[in-house]
């Protein structure tokens, strides 16, 4: 990422600034619903950022990434249900459970390639979905209401909408920066090399499996954190959080925004969810409009929106 004033950098800057200043607009009498919508967008953007680490940079087409949203959410929900409200207990459990799940899934699925990898990650996520749906004590199919959000020290109060929004936004920026550092480190070079040509990576002396596995676990853990946020945001967790269509949504965000671009998934999440919101206000058949739009992006903009912006900038140069 260069510091030059290109079209792309300007758009990214405006987007980040808008996200940071959003509560101000709401405070000045804007619709509070906008803040709720954008809190959700920011949380799902974080999940997309984590997916981008394995999908965009690692070439690991996981079709079960929403499972971590559910695991993170249920860690908060189940502990709250049992009377443990402290975020210092809930959140580490959310992270640890997601990491453990990713470790097991990754250890098995990373031995496969291509379609098999897609199917096996999908199968594990659906397995998690049905297990959670069968937890009668925690609401089963109907889900579980969270009556009290995660408790931290004073004056942090997650029930305050503005505070909670800024917490989510800070964590999103943090996650994005973390991914940026990761993918440019030695570790990231190995991950990208393995995406590009894994056989060759092994031939020059990299045991690629363990690097890909660690990458898979980092991505799962980050998404688990997004899950803990999502549970707090909706005050409710249900198995549908981890249904496979949700995993599909996350993939769409990454592809739409730009695979293998650090800010791509953030752009993709905002674009997809805002579009969804606007279109569904116009017509109840909004998917008929959204579908072809996505098709156009996939067909004509291989690098997603971020790729388009970069190209537009390059054309503007002499």
């Amino acid at each position: 990422m260069s510091g030059a004033l290109t079209i792309r950098n300007s758009v990214v800057f405006v987007l980040l600034a808008a996200l940071a200043l959003l509560p101000l607009y709401v405070g000045l009498g804007g619709n509070i619903f906008v803040l709720t919508l954008f809190t959700r967008i920011v949380i799902l953007a974080m999940a997309a950022v984590s997916l981008n680490l394995i999908l965009g940079y690692g070439g690991m087409m996981s079709f079960g990434h929403a499972a971590y949203l559910g695991i993170g959410g249920y860690a908060v929900g189940i502990l709250a249900h049992e009377g443990i409200y402290s975020g210092f207990a809930q959140w580490p459990v959310a992270l640890f459970a997601s990491a453990l799940f990713a470790l097991v899934i990754g250890a098995l699925s990373l031995r496969t390639r291509g379609v098999y990898f897609i199917m096996i990650t999908l199968a594990f996520a659906q397995m998690a979905y049905y297990i959670v749906a069968g937890l009668a004590r925690y609401g089963g199919d109907d889900g579980l209401t969270i009556y009290k959000r995660s408790q931290f020290f004073e004056p942090v109060n997650l029930s305050n909408k503005v505070q909670f929004y800024y917490l989510c936004l800070t964590l999103l920026f943090g996650a994005t920066y973390l991914v940026y550092r990761l993918v440019n480190s030695r570790f990231g070079m190995v991950i990208q090399g393995a995406r590009s040509n894994e056989l060759r990576m092994r031939a020059i002396g990299f045991p690629t499996y363990r690097y890909r596995l660690v990458c898979f676990v980092i991505a799962g853990t980050l998404c688990g954190l997004a899950g803990a946020l999502l549970g707090n945001h909706t005050d409710f967790v249900s198995p549908s959080m981890m249904y496979w269509t949700r995993s599909g949504d996350l993939i769409i965000m990454v592809v739409l925004g730009g695979m293998g671009s650090v800010v791509g998934p953030l752009i993709g999440a905002v674009a997809l969810l805002v579009l969804e919101e606007l279109l569904s206000g116009i017509t109840e058949y909004w998917q008929i409009i959204l579908g072809p739009l996505l098709l156009l992006v996939v067909l004509f903009a291989r690098g997603g929106i971020d790729g388009l912006l970069a190209k537009a900038g390059a054309k503007g140069q002499p």
Partner: protein
């Protein structure tokens, strides 16, 4: 004479009843350039894949520098100093030329569980990579994406990547394949310089190059060694002439 650097005994590999390597024995002394020739389907690539570790032999032994490497995975062999280049160019096409070679450097500098520092700014990785690219004459092309370079240049990147680990032995699978006459001549010069520094096992169809470079030549037909010796011996070996050189010459005149 001391123990050879590479020693292969009773090596065998079959695919669905086709014998690709048949009770093969081969020794390569330290410092020699040993060429393997043979008609198409003689099992040359199968052999080099077993030496490099992409394929596991059905039986037999491979010893390298005193270690039994028959069952070692690829990355362990490469760490022992056995580097391989591929017949079909096998690069990281979506990364830059320098990234390609820097990854090869990185493979030799300990584990890569380093998550924070910018690897593209590390002199420990970039400088040896640049030096290797200079050595093969690609210094000026270092920052381009690997995908935009020509086929001949790709072969040179391959060579640069094999060189950065300071290997003791190079396994080269048809480095001249698909090169034009000028690029071929450049590659021959490069190999002539390299053979002063390391041991090379070369598989090559270009007979002119093989006879110009090799200290010893092994001729493979249907997975078996039919002759091994100095270029002059191979040239005059009746069985070789019949099995291979005759065919090559006929081919040669056909093309000429």
């Amino acid at each position: 004479m001391s123990e050879p650097l590479l020693q292969v005994e009773n090596l065998a590999k079959r695919f669905d009843g086709i014998v690709a390597t048949d009770d093969l024995a081969l020794t390569v002394a330290a410092g020699e350039l040993h060429a393997i020739i043979g008609p198409n389907g003689a099992g040359k690539t199968t052999l080099i894949s077993q030496l490099g570790g992409q394929l596991t032999p059905d039986s037999g032994h491979i010893r390298f520098d005193g270690h039994d490497i028959t069952a070692l995975p690829m990355y362990r062999r490469s760490r022992l100093g056995l580097a391989r280049s591929f017949q079909i160019t096998s690069l990281f096409l979506d990364l830059s030329v320098l990234d390609n070679v820097a990854l090869a450097v990185q493979a030799h500098t300990g584990h890569s569980f380093r998550f924070w520092r910018n690897a593209r700014a590390e002199a420990e990785l970039r400088e040896p990579a640049r030096a290797a690219l200079e050595r093969v004459g690609l210094g000026a092309r270092a920052d381009l994406p690997a995908s935009v370079l020509s086929h001949g240049e790709h072969r040179l990147i391959e060579l640069a990547m094999a060189l950065v680990g300071n290997p003791r032995m190079l396994l080269l699978d048809e480095p001249m394949a698909g090169l034009g006459p000028e690029e071929s001549a450049r590659m021959v010069e490069m190999l002539r310089a390299l053979k002063k520094e390391l041991t090379i096992l070369l598989i090559e169809h270009d007979m002119e190059a093989v006879f110009a470079l090799a200290d010893r030549i092994t001729v493979l037909v249907y997975g078996r060694v039919i002759a091994t010796g100095a270029p002059a011996e191979i040239r005059s070996n009746a069985a070789v002439r019949e099995a291979y050189l005759g065919e090559a010459e006929a081919e040669g005149t056909g093309h000429g």
